[in-house]
């Protein structure tokens, strides 16, 4: 999507495509990373038991973590690319606030987090707040 439209001045569709690319890659990355950290367990306890090296080792030895980081790296370059073509005042609030909502949905679906009414409300409020603040 982003590739197709990059040559022209960014129109509404290519802008939406760039933002969607950032949102999708970062949501995937964050859910994978969260799943990895949950499978590893409390890092503070691991560090207390086997030191900083042990904690780093536990994280680096987890394949899910690398999958997550790969997607976060993709998201990072998608963000750099979008920032280069679109205004920060559009990219930052749009991607940050949309990511909050997609993450809440993904956390409920894939991480089986108990996203209750309290957390849905929080996600919606913070989403709107981030948009107002950064716009």
């Amino acid at each position: 999507m982003t590739l197709l439209f990059s040559a022209a001045a960014p129109g509404a569709w290519s802008a939406a495509g760039m933002i969607a690319a950032v949102v999708l890659t970062s949501t995937t990355g964050e859910v994978l990373t969260a799943a990895a950290m949950k499978s590893i367990g409390d890092l503070d306890e691991i560090r207390a038991r086997s030191g900083m090296a042990g904690a780093i080792g536990a994280v680096v030895g987890c394949p899910l973590f690398f999958a997550g980081v790969s997607f976060l790296a993709l998201a990072f370059f998608a963000l750099l690319f979008a920032l280069n073509h679109l205004d920060l005042s559009l990219v930052a609030p749009a991607s940050a606030s949309l990511t909050l909502v997609t993450n809440a949905v993904a956390a409920k679906l894939f991480l089986k987090e108990n996203v209750d009414r309290r957390r849905w409300t929080a996600a919606a409020l913070v989403c709107l707040g981030v948009y107002l603040l950064a716009h």
Binding site: M37, H85, D116, L132
Partner: protein
């Protein structure tokens, strides 16, 4: 299951998560706007951008963010950590107002208020929620029954 009440240390980690991300992003955007337009025909320029001072500083801050973010995710839910991350935007806006004396529009004050209320909502709840299926056997019966009641 990890402890549900956060320690002071854990609050400090959450604070670091909140602060380092928006500061890092600000550095990145400063760096990227100083470069000209980058097209996908020359992907090398995107890699070269990493070594310019503002972007390098942004990356260092974001590495600090990532380390504290991972630590937070190891003892808290994603849907708990993310709103906390957003609270960093509020801190940066307030710093801009009272330290750099930048004006804040009414719209931004509204944004600050909404984020603060939203974060207050999750912060009042548990940092880690029980997983419905796999963890329910480990829990004492009364709690499981109570939660089923809430689901209905």
């Amino acid at each position: 299951m990890p402890h549900h009440k956060l320690t002071l240390r854990q609050y400090l980690v959450l604070g670091l998560v909140g602060l380092s991300a928006p500061l890092g992003d600000t550095c990145l955007s400063r760096g990227m706007t100083r470069l000209g337009s980058i097209s996908l025909d020359h992907p090398g320029t995107l890699v070269a951008a990493v070594f310019t001072p503002w972007i390098a500083a942004g990356i260092v801050l974001l590495i600090g963010f990532f380390a504290s973010y991972l630590t937070a995710l190891s003892w808290a839910d994603l849907t708990f950590v993310l709103p906390t991350t957003a609270f960093g935007n509020v801190i940066v806006a307030l710093l801009a107002r009272f330290w750099l004396h930048e004006p804040i529009s009414l719209q931004r004050w509204a944004g600050i208020a909404l984020i603060t209320v939203g974060v207050g909502f999750v912060a009042n709840g548990p940092a880690v929620t029980e997983r419905p299926a796999s963890e329910s056997q480990k829990r004492p019966e009364p709690i499981a029954a109570l939660e089923e009641e809430q689901v209905r």
